[in-house]
């Protein structure tokens, strides 16, 4: 077993042995992001009646888009965090390959379930919908979909077990890695850097989320095999939304390590852990798990105190994001004389998009507002803001940094055009969603009324810009991967 001293390898070199695996993961992530965006574009165009999509195919695309985007956000976030934790820990390359292999196995099962088996029960597999398709798909397709999730979940658990044990070996405990010496004002000559604090928190909450997700997956699978095996639908919904909420949030909290580790190269100011930073991350650890009830605000049979907690935490979880992460970004950037290349621009944009997206999310977290906004287009409006302009921008920023080379220079014409196209497209795309939500347009409808078509068509145009910008980012990354650093 490794000792603490054996584990500690400072500096960038520790990441080098697995940089290839991380780069491959980012190529795959970029390609899947682009493909899933095309699926999204097709759905918006179909809602706008610009193309004709059969409803069954629409809901299959919806399922693939949801599962694919959530999975790829998590995959890219995991690769980013692994890369930067490799600066502070020695991590097993075999575990990462096993994680990636299980992820790809899951992707094959999920794509087969959807496009061969016809499964279209949405990424949320809300019990008992997978077993009651109304003739649209067979139980085998639903089972394959959920086995795909299971394979991905097992891969992530391996990933977190490796991270957790290496953090424990290096820092003595996860509590210390969460910055409790900083919080309590105790002397610590080797405080955990921001990436490790983030890794410790995400390891804890996403492991819990995946285990609870596994519980409801197993129950749903048994229900498919033995229909007489009943599960309480409300309990299953709680487990699914706990898992789903924690998992997608974990993807952002993993990817933000790119901001902590890369921006200092530009600003010349290291991003250090301090007492406030540690308090914020420990608050996040609790808030991420306590806030999922905001997904169940219209499930009125839930105990009222849970819905109240869902509303309160929905708002107050914005404080560590805006007053700590966003505010710190302002301070790091201000007066830094930093060079705005594609990587730094996307990373600062990602913090902005994440923060700005929290505004409509928090407002939707109010029970009285949620009564008229829940499951309208308002919801994709806010989550696309903090994913498209948040996590995905972090992933693209990291990719741009990976192939940047040693010299930092201003964006060239193509990079600038791609950045502006992506930003304008994404901002317009999410704003249309918010207007559609305010116009009461329900989400996840394959067929839209005439009154809604203008929204869908404008959204489609902005979506086209997002796809265009993304293609440039991904192709540019792939083209530069093979080059030597210059």
């Amino acid at each position: 077993m490794s000792t603490v001293s054996e584990n500690y390898v400072p500096g960038h070199a520790a990441a080098a042995p697995q940089a290839g695996a991380v780069k491959l993961t980012m190529v795959l992530s970029g390609a899947v992001f682009a493909l899933m965006m095309v699926f999204g574009l097709l759905m918006r165009a179909a809602q706008g009646q610009w193309i004709d999509l059969d409803a069954a195919l629409f809901y299959q695309l919806l399922t693939a888009h949801g599962a694919g985007m959530v999975g790829t956000a998590a995959l890219s976030g995991a690769a980013i965090m692994w890369y930067f934790c490799g600066r502070h820990l020695v991590l097993s390359g075999g575990i990462f390959w096993a994680f990636l292999g299980l992820f790809l196995l899951g992707v094959v099962l999920i794509l087969g379930a959807i496009f061969i088996g016809g499964y279209g029960g949405a990424w949320t597999f809300l019990f008992p919908l997978p077993a009651l398709s109304g003739g649209a798909w067979e139980a085998g397709a639903a089972a394959a979909f959920m086995l795909g999730y299971t394979a991905i979940g097992v891969g992530f658990l391996l990933y977190y077990l490796e991270l957790g044990r290496r953090i424990h070996a290096r820092y003595g405990s996860l509590v210390r890695a969460l910055g409790w010496n900083l919080i309590l004002g105790r002397e610590d000559n080797d405080p955990p850097p921001p990436a490790i604090v983030a890794a410790a928190a995400v390891t804890i909450f996403n492991s819990i989320g995946i285990i609870l997700g596994a519980a409801v997956l197993v129950a749903s699978l048994v229900h498919l095999l033995v229909p007489g095996f009943e599960v309480d639908a409300l309990l299953a919904k709680n487990l699914i939304y706990f898992f789903g909420h924690v998992f997608i949030n974990a993807s952002i909290y993993m990817a933000v390590t790119a901001v902590y580790e890369i921006l200092p190269e530009y600003t010349g100011k290291p991003w250090k852990s301090n007492r406030l930073f540690a308090i914020a991350w420990n608050a996040v650890l609790i808030f991420v798990m306590a806030v999922y009830w905001h997904h169940l605000l219209q499930d009125v049979v839930m105990p009222p105190w849970m819905l109240v907690v869902g509303q309160l935490v929905s708002y107050f979880s914005g404080i560590p994001l805006i007053a700590v992460t966003a505010f710190s970004t302002f301070l790091y950037v201000r007066g830094s004389k930093m060079t705005w290349d594609l990587a730094s621009s996307l990373l600062v944009l990602s913090v902005a998009g994440w923060s700005v997206g929290s505004v409509p999310a928090s407002i939707d977290g109010m029970i009285s507002v949620n009564k008229v906004m829940h499951n309208t287009m308002w919801v994709p409006g806010h989550f696309h803001t903090y994913l498209l302009l948040g996590e995905v921008a972090m992933a693209f920023g990291f990719m741009a940094w990976l192939v940047r080379g040693k010299t930092i220079s201003q964006m060239d014409g193509l990079d600038r055009a791609a950045f502006v196209t992506y930003l304008a497209g994404a901002a317009g795309f999410v704003t249309v969603f918010l207007f559609s939500g305010a116009a009461s347009i329900p989400r996840r409808w394959a067929v839209h009324y005439e009154e809604w078509l203008a929204h869908d068509r404008i959204g489609t145009l902005f979506g086209g810009l997002v796809v265009l910008g993304t293609l440039v980012f991904v192709l540019r990354f792939a083209a530069r991967l093979g080059r030597r650093e210059g």
């Binding site: 029960g121 009651l132 950037v333 700005v356 918010l434 009461s440």
Partner: protein
């Protein structure tokens, strides 16, 4: 309510975006002064106080409060793939209505829309449970029930309607 929610959201989102743009532009300016920490503390306090005020104001009256059974009309709504069944087709305006909502198969969402396609209220229909909401219709006219929770391949066809009639003088 929706236009107000949209307006407030867009204002706050625009303000936060403007702060980021200003910060990016300030990268060429002077470094932050020693007062930055105090500003951060101030921001935390402002957000906390605002949160307490908004939370108390929005929860003081429970948003899911039901009208007493003696004062309200009881209407039963059941859903299934892919239909809504309502046990009455005419509802009087001005009188609280308690909707008792059930489902025969998967989870659905009962959203009540007015003739302008504005969502008035909603509640989830959960297998094995009866969920209840109260709503008072002010205007006579045609209203629709749309499904708000994805429930399968004909989710978008799960629509029914009812009439609200003028209250008897």
């Amino acid at each position: 309510m929706q236009p107000v929610v949209l307006f407030i959201s867009l204002i706050l989102m625009a303000a936060l975006s403007a702060v980021f743009v200003a910060a990016a532009r300030a990268s060429r300016g002077p470094a932050p002064g020693p007062g930055a920490s105090a500003k951060r503390s101030g921001l935390i306090w402002v957000m906390t106080i605002l949160g307490v005020i908004v939370s108390v104001a929005s929860l003081r009256e429970w948003p899911h409060a039901l009208a007493g059974t003696g004062d309200a009309l009881e209407v039963n709504v059941s859903g299934g793939q892919w239909w809504w069944d309502i046990d009455t087709t005419e509802i009087p305006a001005g009188k609280p209505v308690n909707f008792n909502v059930t489902t025969e198969d998967v989870t659905h969402g009962m959203g009540i829309y007015d003739s302008d396609l504005t969502l008035l209220t909603q509640v989830q229909a959960i297998p094995g449970y009866t969920t209840q909401i109260t709503y008072t219709f002010e205007e006579p006219g045609s209203y629709q029930i749309l499904c708000m929770e994805f429930c399968g391949v004909a989710h978008h066809d799960m629509v029914n309607e009812f009439e609200v009639i003028a209250a008897e003088g």
